[in-house]
Symmetry: C2
Subunit: 401 residues, 2 copies
Amino acid sequence: MNDHFARRMANVKPSAIRELLQLGAQPDIISFGGGYPDPALFPLEPLAAVFQEAITGQGRSALQYTLSTGMPRLREQIAERMAREQVRCTADQVLILQGAQQGLDLVAKMLVDRGDTIITENPTFLGALIAFNPYEPRYLAVRTDGEGMDVDQLEQLLVQEKGAKLLYTMPDFQNPTGITLSLARRHRLIELANRFDLIVLEDTPYRDIRFAGDPLPTLKSLDTEERVIYLGSFSKILAPGLRLGWAVASTRLINQLGLLKLAADTQCSTLTMTATSLYLQRYDVESHIAVIRETYRRKKEAMLAAIHAAFPPDITCTNPQGGMFTWVSFPRGFDAARFLAEQALPRAKVAYVPGATFFPVTEEANHARFSYTIQDEATIARGIAELGRLLAPTSAKTRTG
Amino acid sequence: MNDHFARRMANVKPSAIRELLQLGAQPDIISFGGGYPDPALFPLEPLAAVFQEAITGQGRSALQYTLSTGMPRLREQIAERMAREQVRCTADQVLILQGAQQGLDLVAKMLVDRGDTIITENPTFLGALIAFNPYEPRYLAVRTDGEGMDVDQLEQLLVQEKGAKLLYTMPDFQNPTGITLSLARRHRLIELANRFDLIVLEDTPYRDIRFAGDPLPTLKSLDTEERVIYLGSFSKILAPGLRLGWAVASTRLINQLGLLKLAADTQCSTLTMTATSLYLQRYDVESHIAVIRETYRRKKEAMLAAIHAAFPPDITCTNPQGGMFTWVSFPRGFDAARFLAEQALPRAKVAYVPGATFFPVTEEANHARFSYTIQDEATIARGIAELGRLLAPTSAKTRTG
C-alpha cells in the first residue's frame, strides 16, 4: 500500500509545495512568491449581494444537490462567453469544475495510464505536474522560447515518440514564464495534434488578463478534429476562494469528464455556482476584468522597470503581455533556491519561487518565478531594489568564478 | 484512449445515474427517489448571515486561496466534534473535502490498483461504487442482515481471499438499506481488519440523524491500529449545496490524502469553509440537528405506517433508526425497475430508486430504496397508498405465478 502510494506520488515534493504555499504568509516578507490574485480587486459588495440572493431568494434550491455537470444557467453563460472567443459550444459541452485544477486531474484520469506520455512545455505549471503525477505518466518537455512551445522540437519528439496521448499547454501568459504562444505556432500545434493523434489540454486561467492588444485565438477555436479540451477559471477574474472553473470539449469527451466529475465529488457547490451565475447576470464582469487588467499592467511595468534598474544585465526576465508572472533567468551556475534561502529571505526579506520545480524532467536551478499581483507598486520597487543590492555582487562573482 | 476509459468506467451506468438524479425533478411525481435532505430544514437566515460575514468581515481572506488541507479553524472545530464521539484526533488529522464523496475517490486513488479487492456491504452505496470504479477494483460483497454486514461471512471471505486491501462500510443508517451495524459486529470488524491487514473506510454521513437512543461507537473510536479512515459530511446536517465533508485518519494516511486533495482540486472553497466555521461558532448546530432528527423521525414513522397499511404482507421494509432511507424488499421474481417504469411512474405518479444498482457484484431486482425526507407526511401517506393499490394485485400475481 505504501509502495503504491510512494510510486504514484514519487514526483510530488510535499515540502516544496508547502514552502510555496507558505512563502506568501509571513508578514515581514515582501512576497513575489504565491500565484495569488490581488485581494483588493475582489468584488466584495457584488459577491455579498449575490450570495445573499442565492441563499434567500432562490427557493432554497441553491443549498440543495444539483446536476453533477453544473447549474444549467451558468453553463449557458459560459457558453455565451466562449462564443465571443469564437469557440462554438453548447451549454451541454461545458462542465463546471472545482477550479481548472480539477480539469487537470479529471483529464489525466480519463486518458493516462501508468507510463503513458504527456507532453508539456519546459518549464510548465507545477499544479499540472501535481495533478498528473498520481497517474504515473512519463513526461516529454518541449523547449520554450519567447513565442512559447518550440513546435519544431515538438514535431521531432512526436516522430521519435510514437503513442504520446496528451499535450498539455498554457498558451496565454503561461505560469511560470508569462510567455504567450504565437499565432503561427498555435496553427502548427493543431496540425501536429491532428497528425499525431493527440488530445490537447488548453489551460488558460489568465487569458482574460491581457494588458494590451487583441487576444490570439484559443487553440479550441482552431480545433478542427475535436481534439482540444479547454479549461477556464473564475479564480483570476472573480476570486480563487470560490473554486470555480470549467471545461469545454466535444460532447463525447465532456460526457466522459462529467462521469468522472460525478465520481470525484458529485458536483461543485450549488451555492457558489448559483451566486456566480447571478453575478454574471447582474454585474458587468467585463468592466471588472478591465480594472484587473489595468492594475496588473501597472504592477508588471513597475516590476520590470525595477528589475531593469536594479538587477545586473546578465539577469534577464520575460515581458509578459498579460497574466501574473515574469520569469527571471540568472546566469548558469546560479542556484535560485539556495539564494532564496541564504540571501533573499534573510537579508532582503524578499520571496520568490525558485524555478526548479517547474521543470518536468531535468530541473534547471537558475530561474525564478516572480508574481507582481499582490504587492503595490512602491513595495514592488522596494523589494526588487533590495534583491538587486544582493544580486549585483553575487552575479558578478558567478560570472568571474 | 476510448478503450482505457471504457474499461475504467465499465461498471458505471450513466443512464441509471441520470435517471436517479432526475427522478426527483418532475413536478407531478411524488418522489421517494433522490437522497435529498428536506430543504425546509436548511438554516437560511444563519447561512445568509455567515456568508455575509465571511465575504465582508474577514479582510478579504475568505475569497483568496488557502491551505489545501482546509481552514485551520474549521479543522479544529471538527476535531472537537470528533472528540465528543470518542475519536481522539488533532486538527492536523482532519482533512476538509468536497463532500464525503471526495473522500471515497481519494482513498481509492491512494490505495487501489487495477484488480485490487474492495470489500463492501451487499448492497452498498452507489456513489461509492461510482467513485471506486475508475480505479478498476474487484468487489467482494458481504451479505447484510438487520445488524449490518455479516462478519462471519466477512471472515470466510477474508480467509479465502488473501490480499484484500480496503473494506468500505457505512455503519450508521446505511444508504440504501437504513441498517445500522451492531456493536458486537463493530468490535468483530475491527478485529478482522487487524488480523487481515485491512484499511477500513467508515463513511457515515447520516450518523447525526439518529431518531432515538445513544449512538453506537464509531469504528474509528474502536480502531486500535490506525486502520480506520473516517468520513463525515455537512451535507445532511447543514446543506448539501455547500459541498463540505471531512476525513479523519492517522497522520500518515491523512498526509497522503492531503497531497491527493492538492492534486485533485487544490482546496475546497475558502468562502464555504469560512462561512461554515462561522456557523459552527455563532449558532447551535446541535439544536439544529435535533430538529432534523425529529422531523425525519416523524416522516419515517409516516412512511412505515403507510407501507404496513398499504403494501401486501410479503413486501417487507427495514425500520431505520436514523438517516434517510428504508429498503423495501419485494417477493423474489419481482422486478422493481420494471414496475417503476410500467406501473409506479405512469399510474401512481410515484418514484423510488430500484435496488439493482446498489449491488456491486450480483444484482437483485426485487428491492427498492425509498427516501422519506423531502415529502411531507400527508404526501408520504398518499404516495405510498397509491403504490399500494398497484402492488396488491401485482404481488398476489407474483405469488401465484
